[in-house]
Amino acid sequence: MATTIQSPETESKKPRLDNGNSGGGGLRNLGPTNGSLKLLEDFSPEPSRTGVWVGLAAITMSFAAFTSALIVRQSTANDWHHLTIPSIVFFNTVVLLASSITLEIARRRVAEFARGRTANRSTPLAWLSATLLLGFVFVTGQYIAWQQLRAEGLYLASNPNSSFFYVLTAIHVLHVLGGLAGLMRVIYILRRPVLSLRRSTMDATSYYWHFMGVLWIYVLLVIWIKL
């Protein structure tokens, strides 16, 4: 604003300056001639939304590494003993998928509340709490599944199949616990008297949570087919 204003001189009417052979080496002068920056603005999403996708990429890569380890290990194995998946695992699957549905409903209710369409804060909170509860039921269910395996005499080191079962499910549960922490944070923020929950926080948490469901389906398929 403090910059001197001068009337544009004839040079400014020249076409965009370019020395013709720069290959884009920083010589092009892309400064907007009319001062408008609209064209130059990048689309910048909220960091938390980008962050969660980047984090999910890393998690995907980790599970890809576990999978390839499993495939290599199986190919050299003479000690591969197929294990029967504990029955409660299927119940857990249903619970985790149901939690994705409740979370999606919660997300829409939160959006309605945030837009001021409804002053009812308890409905989104109830759906979020339901999701949280289902998440904890899933974690408990996985713990029971490990107990069932132990009852069969299958421990972490018993054979490669049980090793991979425990490792894959435990790492998945660890990530689910991270998601539960995120959900608790959302609930905590939503309970504040003044609404300070950002949409991106809600979205990032729900993307992460839905991904936990997708990841679980993948882990279950790997266990089912391979172990």
Binding site: M1, T3, T4, I5, Q6, P8, E9, E11, S12, L17, D18, N19, S22, G23, G24, G25, G26, L27, R28, N29, L30, G31, P32, T33, G35, L37, L40, E41, D42, S44, P45, E46, P47, T50, G51, V54, G55, A57, A58, I59, M61, S62, A64, A65, F66, S68, A69, V72, R73, T76, A77, N78, D79, W80, L156, A157, P160, S163, V167, I171
Partner: protein, 598 residues
């Protein structure tokens, strides 16, 4: 005729928000959320690590050529490993392992990427901090924890592990039977790297989100300085590479402490004891490790490439022949880095056809590397280069990168690698192209950015002296390694037990003396660093007449970088060789329109 038209647009947009700087000592210097302080913390940690790593290399070099000389004080560090100051062969391997691990993880990953990246990436894109400052703080302190765990290995049980920085299974997985240090020491190694992976993942996530989301108005991707691009590409590589090392370390730790058999085969007898494991695959560890390990090489070198390009452009006062092609080359290297891990495993017993499949992309990597080198050289040709300590180290980087890279052509061919793999040739190759080259990048960055980071200039004469001693010294150390390798000198031996190696001892002696001298020359750097920090001449805002955003702010930058304002960017990053009101360059945030001087 006027060259410029000043326009009625603001240089800074509306005031966004203003942060109060932290007051307490703890918040300001220890658990700081400020990316600049975290960058400095990373730099300090790398300095400590590089000092320890260098001392370890001295101990190894001294032992190699004067094996019976009791090194004063070494006996205190380990009574078992170095009774009376003379190290055992196993302790030599321990020092080798710790040297490699410290240097690769805590120096080459931390200094060029985490330290400079943390400090300058947000500033160069006009952000006031990283996207997730708390993650940033956590990632430094997690790295510090990993460092402490690793150093603790010196003081537990029978010392540090002996498995090398690559920790090949099954010897790294079976426990104490595999030798001294393979008990608790090796477990600490696994734990340390596991924790380091978490820290690096947090860091990489932060870098990516910051670059994508926090760029200021007008800072399009193509307007980012070349080093910002390098840090961004590096963080993409690090994200996927460390995400693979993390599971690998977990499986290794489980093999060691929980009795699983991921990497330990059946019927393995070590130290006359049948190991209670079955069916594991030692090659699996190598696959997982090198899937991380090769990209790790580029995690070390790409930031240095970016820093060096940035400095060279500034010193030449003109842009590179092609800014974009260098960025595309870095992307290409990053992409190819995931396809070549098998070239570390030519002698592992892998299928020879696989070797061929890994050899081809390895040779392809030389194409983008060569293109970059040619662009540097072509841009340098005919330029009136400003000779500073920073630009000298940048030139030194190119020299090291080429000298070390050329031997890569040979090693990429399985048939030649079979002969050279376990020799000093490989040691010379990776020390030059990955170790010394990246360190030269760090030195260049230090001389270049020190005024901005501290508000004081470094002593240029001492800097140039430091450059020449280091440049000549490193060539004296690492060039003969290639000769030793061709002569068949195997790696990792602590003594010359075979007759045919005895004639090579004078070469080793020369290398050891060169290493001691080059190490001593680093004291000049250390003195320059510390003395300039307190007594150096005050630095102006833009001592190098550089165009990127870090130079529009005071030296050192205020806590909130741009004073709570958004900078507006109007230009590509390197507007040199122009006629503007400031001279032959134009700052990125300057609204001036200038004609290009041809």
């Amino acid at each position: 005729m006027s060259d410029r038209v000043v326009q009625a647009v603001p240089t800074t947009a509306d005031v966004v928000h203003h942060h109060q700087p932290p007051q307490g000592f703890i918040r300001k210097y220890v658990f700081s959320l400020d990316h600049k302080m975290i960058g400095k913390q990373y730099y300090a940690l790398a300095l400590v690590a590089v000092f320890i790593g260098m001392v370890l290399s001295w101990l190894m070099r001294i032992h190699l050529v004067w094996p019976n000389w009791p090194i004063p004080g070494l006996g205190l560090l380990s009574k078992v490993g170095a009774p009376g100051g003379v190290m055992t062969p196993e302790y030599y391997l321990s020092l080798l392992t710790m040297h490699g691990t410290l240097m690769v993880f805590f120096v080459l990953t931390n200094a060029p990427f985490a330290a400079f990246g943390n400090y300058f990436l947000p500033i160069q894109i006009g952000a006031e901090d990283m996207a997730f400052p708390r993650f940033n703080m956590m990632s430094f302190w997690t790295t510090f924890l990993a460092f402490c765990i690793l150093i603790a290995a010196f003081f537990v049980g029978d010392g540090p592990p002996i498995a090398g920085w690559t920790s090949y299974a099954p010897l790294s997985a079976v426990g104490a039977d595999a030798g001294p240090g393979q008990g608790f020491g090796q477990t600490l190694w696994g734990l340390s790297i596991f924790v380091f992976c978490i820290a690096s993942l947090l860091g990489a996530l932060n870098f990516i989100a910051t670059t994508l989301d926090l760029r200021t108005r007008g800072m399009t991707l193509s307007r980012m300085p070349i080093c910002t691009w390098a840090w961004f590409i590096t963080s993409c590589i690090a994200l996927l590479a460390f995400a693979v090392l993390l599971p690998a370390c977990l499986l290794l730790i489980l093999d060691r402490v929980a009795g699983t058999s991921f990497f330990i085969p059946a019927g393995l007898v070590i130290s006359d004891r049948l190991q209670p494991h079955s069916g594991g695959s030692p090659l699996l560890w190598q696959h997982l490790f090198w899937f991380f390990g090769h990209p790790e090489v580029y995690i070390a070198i790409l930031p240095a490439i970016g820093i060096v390009s940035h400095i060279l452009i500034n010193s030449m006062r003109r842009p590179l022949l092609s800014h974009k092609v260098v960025i595309y080359c870095m992307m290409g290297i990053g992409f190819l880095s995931y396809m070549v891990w098998g070239h570390h495993m030519f002698v592992s017993g892998m299928n020879p056809f696989s070797s061929l499949m890994f050899s081809f992309p390895t040779l392809v990597i030389t194409i983008p590397a060569t293109i970059m080198t040619l662009i540097w050289l072509g841009s340098l040709y005919g330029s009136r280069l400003r000779i500073t300590a920073a630009s000298l180290f940048a030139l030194g980087f190119i020299s090291m990168f080429v000298s070390g890279g050329v031997s890569g052509f040979f090693l990429a061919q399985p048939s030649i690698d079979i002969y050279l793999h376990a020799t000093y040739f490989v040691v010379g190759h990776f020390h030059m192209v990955m170790g010394v080259a990246a360190i030269f990048g760090v030195f260049a960055g230090t001389y270049f950015w020190f005024p901005k980071m501290t508000g004081h200039m470094m002593n240029e004469s001492l800097g140039k002296l430091h450059f020449w001693l280091t440049f000549i010294g490193t060539y004296c150390i690492f060039m003969p390694f290639h000769y030793l390798g061709l002569a068949g000198n195997v790696r990792r031996y602590s003594a010359f037990v075979d007759d045919f190696l005895v004639p090579l001892i004078p070469v080793h002696r020369f290398i050891t003396i060169a290493a001691l001298c080059t190490g001593a020359a680093q004291l000049i750097f250390l003195y320059n660093l510390i003395h300039s920090r307190f007594r150096g001449a005050p630095a102006p805002d833009n001592p190098w007449e550089c165009t990127s955003l870090e130079w529009i702010m005071p030296s050192p930058p205020p806590f909130d970088n741009f004073g709570g304002k958004h900078v507006v960017v109007y230009h590509d990053p390197y507007q040199y060789g122009v006629k503007s009101s400031t001279g032959d360059y134009l700052m990125q945030n300057s609204p001036e329109q200038v004609e290009v001087r041809t």
